[in-house]
Amino acid sequence: MTAPFRVAGKGRLTPAKVVRFTFDGEHYSGLEGDTLASALLANGVHLVGRSFKYHRPRGFLSAGAEEPNALVGIHRDAARKTPNVRATVQELHDGLAAVSQNRWPSLKHDVGAVNDLASPFFSAGFYYKTFMWPKAAWKHLYEPRIREAAGLGVAPDQPDPDHYAAHYGHCDVLVLGGGAAGLAAALAAAEAGARVILADEQAEPGGALRFESGAVIDGRNGWDWATATVARLRAMENVRVLTRTTAFGYYAQNFVGLTERVSDHLAAPLPDLPRERLWQVRAKRVVIASGAIERHMVFPDNDRPGVMLASAARTYLNHYGVAVGRQVGVYTANDSAYHAAIDLKKAGVDVVAIVDLRDNPQGPVVDEARALGIEINAGRAVVGVAGKLRVSAMTVQPKNGGASRSIAIDALLTSAGWTPSVHLFSQSRGKVAFDDETRRFLPGAYAQDCVSVGACNGTDDLEAALAEAAGAGHAAAKAAGAKAGRAGAKLKASGEGWSGGMLGAAPGAGADSKAKAFIDFQNDVTAKDIRQAVREGMRSIEHVKRFTTNGMATDQGKTSNMHGLAIAAETLGKPIPEVGLTTFRAPYTPVTFGAIVNHARGSLFDPTRRTPMHGWAERHGAVFEDVGQWKRAWYFPKAGEDMHAAVDRECVTVRQSAGIFDASTLGKIEVVGPDAAAFMELLYTNPWQKLEPGRCRYGIMLREDGFIYDDGVVGRLADDRFHVTTTTGGAARVMNHMEDYLQTEFPHLKVYLTSISEQWAVIAVQGPKSREIIAPLVEGIDLSDAAMPHMSVREGTICGVPTRLFRMSFTGERGFEINVPADYGQAVWEAVWAEGQKHGACAYGTEAMHVLRAEKGYIIVGQETDGTVTTNDAGLDWAVGKKKADFVGIRGMMRPDLVAPGRKQLVGLRTKNPKVVLEEGAQIVADPKQAVPMTMIGHVTSSYWSENCGHSIALALVEGGRDRMGDTLYVPMPDGTIEVEVSGTVFFDEKGERLNG
């Protein structure tokens, strides 16, 4: 069955290849190669949507990416529902299901259309004026209502099951647009030997040759030449042709973002095919061949379904073989619409009249139209249309007034002229310049290594455009370093040229008119809205734009910007260039979040780092916490234990027997070179020169401003080799900090830094039984206190693999940290675990580690410190080398504020009620009865229940804290004030005897 508006013998689609689809549940058939738009038009369907603000019925304006009206939802399945798809871009496939939007209960009967009648209340700037009072109503009444009413389509309510890909591309010459000019440029660049990428948004390149029926290039029909040229380009090894690919953003240094629609046009895409592919291309040269976009005429009710651009009607006829109506009217101010009239007439469509605003149109196309018997009404305007859901007649009147007559039509083609597509040029930060003669903005000064060719550059003649493009392609190839050689012969061509036309409102939509003559269809902006904006004081086009929302819809004003600008200029009484053009911004057409995110979703959203022992911890029921990108074992609950019970048990076990802890995430840096100690002296507050090989020291690193930056235990392996550890979170930045100082401040030092964080798995064994647990596994190291005292490091083997064994403690117990090459981490852990089982040891997580160190008053950088804490504040002056002449932060430490009395100092807090555990971050006051806001003298930095102490413990930074020992302070909380007593920071084993216990 042939669709009623399909014209036999016209178009390039194969009549036998029938495709079935639905629109709003109705079944239709189209042809392979159709867009949803052409297939609907073939079936006589013009009404496809309701407008955003006034809910006016809308049809197709265009046949391309500029479409502002025909936005539909495409529903592949329950999860794949894409709103706001331009029906003019969506390719048809078997089983495609489309639905209209912004209507209820149906497209034909839409309750929201009441907005159209109430439109006097919805004029420009109405949001700014209407919802001001009362203030409180905004949050509870206006905003929720507006949000409900806003937006066109419905967002999908399930996770997107599709996947999206990405590809970084590089080339000598990137050609944007595959019309006649783009193809000529790509071919010239490719033949010159350059690596070329050609991108075109259509399924098949060809641009305007798709509809320009009379074009002849190199002796062939224009479209045939385009098809042959594409085939030639595809066959060349140095060329990549990307179709269905839109260049949406032009960024710095010729970096261009493009989206390739890979599978939206397929009925059943293979599972490995992404839906879309994001291309990020760095090009040595860019040739912009983005063409031009036709403008509509601005007259009353110019948005009726059936009113469309002349070039669109021509595309539907010449490419898709579809007549947009049976009685077609034409309204124009330039020649290009005549071509549409002629093509339709020749195809057997009744073209009832051409209404031409020009007084005396002349030339071959006018003559041809007349010769075909088409009535030409020169010096006349269309001042109105009849029909609600579809245009049924146009009212024609002499442009300066007079008697009008009505002509019955079922489609009206309009053309006000062509706007060069300078979007990408403008995005490249090039400056557009207004050409007074042709009244259009064209590329002016360039900011990047690119060139515009063809219609987007204002080159209207086909042969001239081809010559310009080929020359630019050749030159770009040469500039990019290709061998080039001589340019190919010039192509002979003949085609149409489409300059001229008009900007702004036509008669009937003039200054005194109350009619709705649309400029921006998608945002429902009319000519009178622009005038009103100017009347209300908007002078800059940027203000006019924001006040009226002209050009701010997803089509970004591709058809509306110049009309809006012209009306604003006319109302202001200024020339157009003085009013200015709004800035073009990426994206050129909407880009899916899927394409932007591409692979970075699910497990690839962010790297998840796991230690070598992660699997063991998982098998032993660990609960993990996120520490940066790391997963760290938080605690190991046994059956029936909650977090508190598990942590209490782990803390007690460590002090009674031993605990095994995965410390692999600690940052580790190997500092190597004859000046290693000298470098360490400069980066840390501590003295290092005299530290003997085989010994360790707790080091503190400051920033230049004198505040604590990081800390960690450092072992000296040899005179010229240190094994530095950092906090887990500080690993990367400490390495950068050290490298920065080495390269910029101390480049004379012979020392190199290497990150070894991931070379070594680290197994901490802490507790009175720790030595007995590891002793059977260690070879070549004397573990006795005499041979290996607290704070020492030895190299030997454990379980037959090399180890750097540290004797150190972050619990206050005798302890070891076993470093083994990472791949051996899990096996050594398992061996230590097996030995530990003989002594009742447990595995413990980061929570118990935190409690155990707090019981000893050991700080955690980033918890007790916040970037404003000095060594003195933290009670760590003992770690500062008193005799040292220099280190990073030494002068910062002496700043008056940093040595002033009354600074916040680290103290312990004991709650008067031992069961109460303070909240970390809680504020501390001296007098709980004072008026709010109270004077806060400090805050809690760490707070835990300590099963080992039998009471809660807390660390806090308190003003003059060390002079307040034994004082009572108060922690006001929402449900009451908590009394605390200031204490020392060590809550357990104050004398430190257990380190050797």
Binding site: H163, A165, A166, H167, Y168, G169, H170, R195, D272, L273, P274, R277, Q280, R282, H599, A600, S603, L604, D606, P607, T608, R609, R610, T611, P612, Q629, W630, E670, V672, G673, P674, K750, V751, Y752, T754, S755, I756, S757, E758, Q759, W760, I798, C799, G800, V801, V820, P821, A822, D823, Y824, G825, Q826, A827, V828, A831
Partner: protein
């Protein structure tokens, strides 16, 4: 002498593989690796000890008998030895100032091979890696998606990706995912 209770080596990507007709992604065998830092005036002595001249040009590598040195910076190389021999002993005798740090377990190697290898890497690596600009032997410290890698072209259609151990899951998953879209 191997002992019965000697710790078992458990490489990070044990058992992982992704294979398509156009590209395969597989973990590389364990190798000895050194992060080698050497000022210009020590390059000669270090080269001699290694058994071949360290490459001096950006993005180049040199190799001999299963041992390769990848230029990462003006004074930095990544040495990878797949022959099973240790590299450190040879360098231990070099008196000239240098830093050789064992990073055998820090890094994990992933081999991407097949006609789709280039496209697989290009999904996440912004460098120009076409054969003409990134020939066999070329190497570079660069990024893959959200992580740092060292990329080394070992054949017309084969790359080795080196990353840190805890990032290897991300790297492997990324490359496996990208491989789906690399049919060329």
């Amino acid at each position: 002498m191997a002992r019965s209770n000697e710790a078992l080596r458990r490489p990070a990507l044990e058992g992982r593989a992704a294979s398509h007709a156009w590209v395969s992604v597989t973990p590389a065998a364990p190798a000895s690796r050194l992060s080698l830092r050497t000022p210009a005036d020590s390059v000669g002595a270090v080269s001699k000890a290694l058994g071949f001249a360290l490459p001096q040009k950006p993005k180049t590598s040199a190799q001999k008998n299963g041992r390769a040195a990848l230029w990462l910076g003006p004074d930095e190389w990544l040495v990878i030895d797949e022959s099973g021999s240790e590299i450190s002993p040879a360098l231990g005798k070099v008196k000239a100032f240098h830093s050789a740090v064992d990073v055998s377990h820090r890094n994990v190697g992933i081999v991407v091979s097949g006609p789709g290898a280039e496209a697989t890497i290009a999904a996440g690596c912004p460098q120009d890696i076409l054969l003409a600009t990134f020939p066999v032997g070329a190497c570079s410290r660069t990024v893959l998606g959200k992580i740092e890698i060292v990329l080394w072209r070992t054949g017309d259609t084969t790359f080795r990706v080196e990353c840190w151990r805890s990032f290897s899951d991300y790297a492997f998953t990324f490359l496996s995912e990208a491989a789906r879209d690399a049919a060329v």
